[in-house]
């Protein structure tokens, strides 16, 4: 079981980081909100385990791509949440990751679904 988990984290690592950064582009959010956002936007296709979400958040924080601050929120403003926001370095990182991801998916798509040869010649 432990082994499975680590394998999945590794598989998702690059993408999860990117998804988190992209989510934070809309504005600061806490961990739960980030998870829910990814889940909702992908119509529950991607379940973000909190076992991978929080290590990823702390890793990104340490790299300086996101910053965190405790802020009161909720109905009565009594509860405090740790809000993450994108830093300038994080924005740049997101652009890089996105470009890389685009290239990668493009490349994979060409292998998986090759276009008809005629079109390629044209």
């Amino acid at each position: 079981m432990a082994k499975d988990l680590t394998e999945r984290i590794e598989l998702l690592q690059g993408t999860l980081d990117m998804l988190i950064l992209r989510t934070l582009l809309f504005g600061p959010a806490h961990g739960h909100q980030i998870a829910k956002h990814i889940q909702r936007t992908t119509e529950d296709l991607l379940q973000v385990e909190h076992g991978s979400l929080y290590p990823a958040l702390h890793r990104l924080e340490r790299k300086g791509w996101i910053a965190a601050k405790w802020e009161a929120a909720g109905k009565d403003m009594k509860r405090e949440f740790k809000y993450y926001r994108l830093t300038a370095a994080g924005k740049k990182q997101l652009v890089n990751e996105e470009a890389k991801w685009k290239k990668m998916t493009g490349a994979i798509a060409r292998v998986m679904w090759p276009a008809p040869p005629a079109e390629e010649e044209g």
């Binding site: 432990a2 988990l5 984290i9 806490h30 961990g31 739960h32 998870a35 385990e49 909190h50 076992g51 991978s52 929080y54 290590p55 990823a56 702390h58 890793r59 340490r62 405790w70 509860r79 405090e80 949440f81 740790k82």
Partner: protein, 880 residues
């Protein structure tokens, strides 16, 4: 600025809050979806999975984890060790003993066997020895031999010779003489010693005549006696009542070519006559007088083998050239070999064997201590199996657990190391007391903890932790649940198997130590009960030498007479005499005696002898069987007389009365006037041989020892003797004051040290083995409590149950002994040269060793077996 572990606690709290917030929100969502509050809470927790593991992963993302978790491990390990004080103290104590013993013995090895002379490139120094038929015949050479070797050799930077002399620095009131040496011109070139001030001796100082009276002193002597006086050069000092000019001071820290001696003065070899009184004074440049200890320096890049190949033929050729023409015919073929000289001229060979053996013994002790601690750790791991299972399910990773255990092991080893240092310091001090008893201060062995040893200690501790910690850690890394299930089914777990192997190994190794201790104890017993032929207690020996103050032979002679007279008048003195050889001091002299018409039975042409004064036999309480002791009748001009011992008499005059018989020495015709009991002469390990005693007045000699039998205590006696001597001449230096019994004890120093330590370590390892056996049997009783209950319930007798465990005990001890006996016998062969009066396969010692382990096994098993026979069936069955 907060320390990182303070930052860490805050971060830890924040993480907790962050995850809790997530959990709360998740639960709220579920509640909104219509789930009951309680279900929502559990549902949220389920959805989140193992939060302990998440935390671990987050911590890993923080970095620093290794150091932080190590700090955490340390704190946890400390707490857990504090929690079981008995385990911790037993473990630290046994490791401390092991590490301490190793450090102490290694410090001796370091000081006596590994240290080099404090000169540049000591490894290029070599000693030279002459061999015949594969065994050493000489380690000293004549002056012409050494100077010719130096002149004609290839492959050496230089070849020098030296001879130690005692030098009396007069002007100081009758102080203890200094150690000095006469040296050849190349001496300082070979050692590459530099002067602190002035110049050192060279070839020009050794001339055909006696040369100028000049000397070089040590830096320490310059500071101590002359307060570092900068005008010391050119100053005259009185050496043995002769004026000598100081031409230089050697570099700081240089004390001559003997590692454990302090030599303060160097004098040109041509002046040897000033310090070696008697017939030797003019013989220094004679080719027939071999006396100088050689020390040579190899040229850079020349190996000892190559140098030897060059020096061997040269030596042989010089032997022939330098031999006296009449002798050349009889000259036998010898060869010349080189030996390591990095430790100087005389290596402390005496200690080599005992120390290597002790090194082996303490190595075994440490190994046994490690096995014992590993055993304890395994037992503890068994008890902690549940704890580990809980921690694994709470998200601890397996590697983390192993690391945790290794941290615990390292802490134990560290504790053992600290205790070890304290023990090592104590042991070094105790051993030095043993070894230095009877050595003068300047010859005393000096051993201390130096940086090299601290390194050795740290390395040893780490190695120890690895050795004893690895097995238990490896064991606990395996799935805890499975092994627990196995035990429940009544099978033997791997842990128990490993513990058995460890205990059996401990016993086998311990047997080697016990057997050695047994052999050494028997050796010492044999040495102590030897009939010496005389009574060494209450005899004080000391040396005085009037020639050191410049007295002539006649003056010296008269002075000794006066001293003996004065001594005999003292109330506390029962007898006083003098002799050239003090029995059992290690010295010997021999001469060619012949008995006209009676060929000797032995093929040894020379017979040991001693030159003694009247009252010698009375002083030693050596029985005169027939005839008389020497007395005042035996003057220089009166008929020559001798006293012989029983062996001499039996050899030449079997079944006859030797009194009145004649023997010949050179041209002298000597009449035997007395027959004395056989006695030991040179060492305790010899077989007494024929011995001849000659009177002092009829045999020109030098270097007398005074022997005084007293009825007083040692301190009083010495004071009385000193006072009597100084009433004859207040300037006479007195040295080498000793009680004869001490001299004999000194001859047994290595044996006593070995026996003492081997016995100490034997007791220790037997205790450790007993603990191991006790632990295993006790564990087996607990584990099988239910089975015993059932057995009792269906009618088993107490003795049946007891037999179960006695069998286990028998298996452990039996296997250990079976393994140990061949090991003990094999290792005892290394002891052979140290044994006396007992063989290396001594059955008595072996049986005793086995008996000790049987007894130890029985004692160790007694308590747990009794506990097993008292198990109440119902209690045992209810317990599980």
């Amino acid at each position: 600025m907060p320390f990182f572990w303070q930052r860490r606690t805050k971060r830890e709290r924040d993480l907790e809050r962050e995850l809790q917030a997530h959990l709360d929100l998740e639960a709220e969502e579920l509640k909104e979806a219509g789930v009951s509050e309680e279900d929502a809470r559990y549902g949220a927790k389920r959805a989140l999975g193992n939060s302990g593991l998440t935390k671990e992963d987050v911590r890993a993302a923080w970095g620093w984890t290794f150091i932080e978790s190590t700090v955490q491990d340390l704190r946890y390990a400390l707490r857990s060790l504090r929690g079981s004080p008995v385990f911790t103290s037993v473990a630290i104590l046994s490791l401390g003993l092991g590490i301490g013993a190793n450090t102490a013995i290694f410090s001796f090895v370091n000081a006596l066997l590994l240290k080099h002379l404090p000169v540049p490139e000591p490894t290029r120094l070599v000693r030279l020895a002459e061999y015949k038929n594969g065994s050493v015949i000489s380690t000293v050479f004549s002056y012409p031999m050494i100077s010719e070797l130096d002149k004609r050799n290839k492959g050496f930077d230089g070849i020098s010779g030296r001879y130690p002399v005692r030098v009396n620095l007069t002007g100081d009131q009758a102080s203890e003489p200094l150690n000095g040496e006469v040296v050849t011109g190349r001496y300082f070139d070979v050692l590459q010693v530099k002067p602190a001030i002035g110049r050192l001796l060279n070839g020009n100082d050794v001339t055909a005549g006696t040369g100028n009276p000049i000397c070089v002193i040590s830096y320490a002597l310059w500071q101590e006696r002359f307060s570092g006086d900068s005008h010391i050069l050119g100053r005259k000092i009185m050496l043995d009542a002769l004026p000598y000019e100081i031409v230089g001071v050697t570099q700081k820290g240089f004390f001559g070519p003997q590692l454990n001696a302090r030599i303060d003065i160097q004098i040109p070899v041509s002046r040897a006559g000033d310090f070696m009184h008697g017939p030797f004074s003019t013989m220094w440049k004679s080719a027939g007088f071999s006396w100088l200890e050689p020390l040579a320096r190899l040229q850079a890049g020349v190996s000892r083998e190559r140098a030897q190949a060059m020096i061997d033929p040269l030596g042989q050729q010089l032997r022939l050239e330098l031999a006296n023409p009449n002798e050349r015919v009889h000259l036998q073929k010898t060869s010349f070999r080189l030996a390591d000289g990095s430790q100087g001229v005389n290596v402390e060979d005496t200690y080599f064997r005992p120390l290597t053996i002790l090194m082996g013994v303490v190595g075994l002790v440490l190994l046994i201590a490690c096995a014992n601690v590993a055993n304890l750790l395994l037992a503890r791991a068994g008890v902690r199996a549940t704890e580990f299972a809980v921690r694994l399910s709470l998200g601890a990773s397996r590697s983390r657990l192993v690391r945790q255990l290794m941290v615990e092991s390292s802490l134990l080893a560290g504790g053992g190391g600290v205790l070890g240092v304290a023990l090592a310091v104590w042991m070094i001090r105790t051993l030095l007391l043993y070894l230095n008893a009877g050595r003068s201060n300047s010859n005393a062995l000096r051993v201390s903890l130096d940086p090299m040893l601290i390194g050795f200690l740290i390395l040893l501790s780490l190695l120890t932790a690895l050795v004893f910690g690895l097995a238990p850690a490896w064991q606990s890394a395996k799935p805890a649940l499975a092994s627990e299930l196995k035990i429940a089914r009544g099978q033997i777990s791997n842990g128990t198997k490993m513990r058995r192997v460890l205990v059996i190994g401990e016993i086998a190794l311990s047997m080697m130590i016990l057997f050695a201790a047994g052999l050494m104890t028997r050796t010492l017993g044999r040495l102590k009960t030897i009939d010496l032929g005389f009574t060494p207690t209450r005899v004080i020996t000391l040396r005085v030498d009037p020639a050191m103050n410049g007295a002539t032979a006649e003056q010296s002679d008269r002075m000794f007479d006066d001293i003996l007279d004065r001594l005999r008048q003292q109330p506390g003195v029962q007898a006083a005499s003098m002799a050239v050889v003090t029995p059992l001091e290690g010295g010997m002299i021999s001469l060619d005696f012949q008995v006209p018409g009676r060929p000797a039975k032995s093929f040894d042409p020379q017979t040991d002898f001693n030159v003694v004064s009247p009252q010698y036999f009375k002083t030693l309480e050596q029985t005169v069987l027939t005839g008389r002791e020497f007395d005042d009748r035996d003057k220089k001009k009166s008929p020559k007389v001798a006293i012989v011992n029983q062996i001499f008499a039996n050899q030449f005059f079997p079944g006859e009365n030797p009194i009145g018989r004649r023997i010949k020495m050179d041209e002298d015709d000597i009449q035997i006037v007395g027959l004395v009991k056989n006695s030991y002469y040179q060492t305790l390990r010899e077989t007494p041989g024929p011995l001849v005693y000659l009177p002092v007045k009829q045999m020109q000699s030098s270097g007398f020892a005074l022997l005084v039998r007293t009825s007083l205590g040692r301190a009083e006696a010495v004071a009385e003797i000193k006072q009597a001597i100084h009433s004859v001449d207040a300037r006479l230096p007195i040295f080498g004051v000793q009680e004869m019994q001490d001299l004999i004890d000194e001859g047994m120093t290595s044996e006593r040290m070995l026996t003492f330590l081997a016995a100490l370590f034997s007791a220790l390892v037997t205790l450790l083995c007993s603990m191991g056996v006790y632990g295993l049997i006790a564990y087996a009783v607990t584990r099988r409590a239910r089975e015993i209950g059932v057995r009792f319930a269906i009618g088993a007798q107490k003795k049946d149950v007891a037999a179960l465990f006695w069998r286990e005990c028998a298996v452990l001890i039996g296997a250990g002994v079976l393994l140990g006996v061949p090991l003990a016998l094999a290792s005892a062969r290394l002891l052979k040269s140290l044994l006396f009066g007992v063989g290396a396969t001594d059955v008595f010692s072996l049986v005793l060793t086995v008996a000790v382990f049987l007894a130890a096994g029985v004692l160790a098993s007694l308590l747990p077996v009794r506990k097993a026979t008292r198990i109440e069936p119902m209690v045992a069955l209810r317990y599980e």
